[in-house]
Amino acid sequence: MDLTKEHARKVYRAMVTARLLEAKFSSLYKAGQIVGGVYLGKGQEAVSASIGGRLEMGKDIFAPLIRDQAGRTAFGEDMLDATRTYLGSVKGPMRGRDGNIHRGRPKEGLIAMISHLGTSLSVLGGMLKARQIQGRMDGCVGATCIGDGATSTGSFHEGLNYVAVEKLPVVVVVADNQFAYSTPSSKQYACDDLIDRAKGYGLVGHSVDGTDTLACASVIGGAVDAARRGEGPQMVVAKLLRLGGHGEHDDGSYIPEEIRTSHYGRDCIEVGKAQLFERGWLSEDELAEWENEAKREVQAAVTKAQKEDAPDPYREDWSSLSRGSFRNW
């Protein structure tokens, strides 16, 4: 696609905001203030924001995965949703019943993932299929991110095949960060590049350097546009590296030095900054302002969530069934 200044700035701003938000979660985690584990998207912001930023909340559907804070931010998820969820506020979207990256707002097009990898894609497909039956597709697109490791799940395969067979307007972004937890890609797949899978499903395939911010904005944005134009399901494989451990409990020391210092070890935030500066699409001052604004917002969200109540077991109704099941009883 023709990359516009507007889209590039939107993507980059979400990246910067997400990085700062996640840095806060990391320090809160180290301070023992987080409920449960913390899983960050450091190094994957360009890929993630490029997909989330090309979708429109309220119209499109997004199924983020482990490392998609930037995509969520770009999509328009309220920062309070993340903050409340990590800090265990009952006011978060999951009300303390589920945590961290599992949060979502399905009715607003943000799928709440379960931990079992690969399972969101068919859910996304079903949401789109429903709209198709209801005649309210309205040019919407559904997108999901997935890691290299999760491509090995049967669930992902079935979901991918489903959206392909139904020719739904879907974009699947595979963030191939070369590791699944500690497991290198050589133990995960045997093809040269995961993009080789696209053809076998009948998908349009795109490859991109996941550390190249503007390339991501362009290629991934272009895939969304193609899906929206009715060109069928799209698959993007972005090559990159997770710039940290699997979660904040993990130092990622198993990632060899030569991979860390390789091309994909570079930081997309730095790359993006240089790219935007070079094009004159962003100034130092503006960036500083974005950063300050993000920091203020982060601090405000944390302060607010920290004051909120934890869920109260005595007020919890513990019901796994909705009232609606009982309407005929």
Binding site: S122, M127, A130, S155, Y162, S320, S325, W329
Partner: protein, 323 residues
């Protein structure tokens, strides 16, 4: 006119599609072909957009249904055999069944499970899977034993806002007949068990096809002067403890019968509930009769000995009555 159990399932789906635009059916070979058991015969002709063939992807089929339900649809998913739901197990118990609790958004999906043994079907086309979906929180598990229940409970299941596991027994499909969908007794809401046959000497609590085997056993014992009460649970989750306990209060003796495997499951749940609520009502130790603790054998001769039969139910009842 006479209708069968499979007619009931087909007609209920017809009615659901007709009266609610948000209903659709999805499953392998359920379109033009009408399904492995013809439960959807003719439906695609009438509603081509809402009766859809699926690839052999049980995990994705359930995932798809969850997504569609989030968007306001009420999908009915046909598993070709209940046994294959093991492939969709994760999406059912971990995704569909947790969705309302986690997000507040209910997922009204109904999974039709052609269940239970038939001769010559073997270990993978004969299973009764109600216990595993009842063990996990978040599903309603229906086990109709009559033509009328098959019809009405499917409609009620589709109308519910939560995941429904609808266990239809393959042995009843063509064998079980009724005059009409109102014909075989009092209609009851889901969650209520039915006293299928009144008695006073012992209570057999069971569900699905075993209701008929239990009634046969009761008839066999009648000539010997025993009056056996048979309670049909209709749904195993929710499980109507009150009706069961009331029956045991009358008879003092309990035999819980199920076609599934013997460890845990419905019969253990029944006995445990009765003991808690009706401890002093029993005159004899509560008994259970289930299938054997081995895979379901292929050969009809083995199969017939693997599951409870009128004869083995009689045998158990005699032991119970002799106590």
């Amino acid at each position: 006119m006479s209708v069968t159990y499979i007619d009931a399932i087909k007609d209920a789906q017809y009615k659901a599609l007709e009266s609610d635009e948000s209903v659709f059916i999805y499953g392998q070979d359920i379109g033009a072909f009408g399904g492995a058991f013809k439960a959807t015969k003719g439906l695609q002709d009438k509603w081509p957009e809402r009766v859809m063939d699926a690839p052999i992807s049980e995990d994705a089929m359930i995932g798809m249904a969850i997504g569609a339900a989030i968007e306001g649809m009420r999908p009915i998913i046909e598993m070709q055999f209940a046994d294959f739901s093991s492939v969709g197990f994760n999406q059912i118990v971990n995704n569909a069944a947790t969705h309302y609790y986690r997000t507040g958004v209910p997922v009204p999906i109904t999974v039709r499970m052609p269940s239970g043994g038939t001769p010559g079907s073997g270990p993978f086309h004969s299973q009764s899977i109600e216990a595993i979906y009842s063990h996990y929180p978040g599903c309603v598990v229906l086990t109709p034993a009559t033509v009328s229940d098959a019809y009405h409970m499917l409609l009620e299941g589709v109308a519910m806002d939560d995941p429904v596991i609808y266990c239809e027994h393959k042995l009843l499909y063509r064998w079980l007949k009724s005059d009409d969908y109102e014909g075989d007794g009092l209609r009851l809401p889901i969650g209520k068990a039915r006293v299928t046959r009144p008695g006073k000497h012992a209570t057999v609590v069971t569900y699905s096809a075993m209701v008929h085997e239990a009634v046969r056993a009761a008839e066999m014992l009648q000539s010997e002067g025993w009056e056996i009460e048979v309670v049909d649970l209709r749904s195993v989750k929710p499980l109507d403890t009150d009706t069961v306990v009331a029956s045991v209060a009358r008879t003092g003796r309990l035999l819980a019968v199920g076609e599934s495997f013997p460890w845990g499951g419905v019969t253990a749940e029944i006995v445990s509930r009765v003991m808690k609520e009706g401890f002093h009502l029993l005159d004899a130790p509560p008994m259970r009769l289930n299938a054997k603790d081995s895979p379901i054998p292929y050969h009809p001769k083995l199969w017939a000995a693997h599951r409870p039969t009128p004869e083995s139910i009689c045998h158990a009842l005699k032991e119970l009555l002799a106590y």
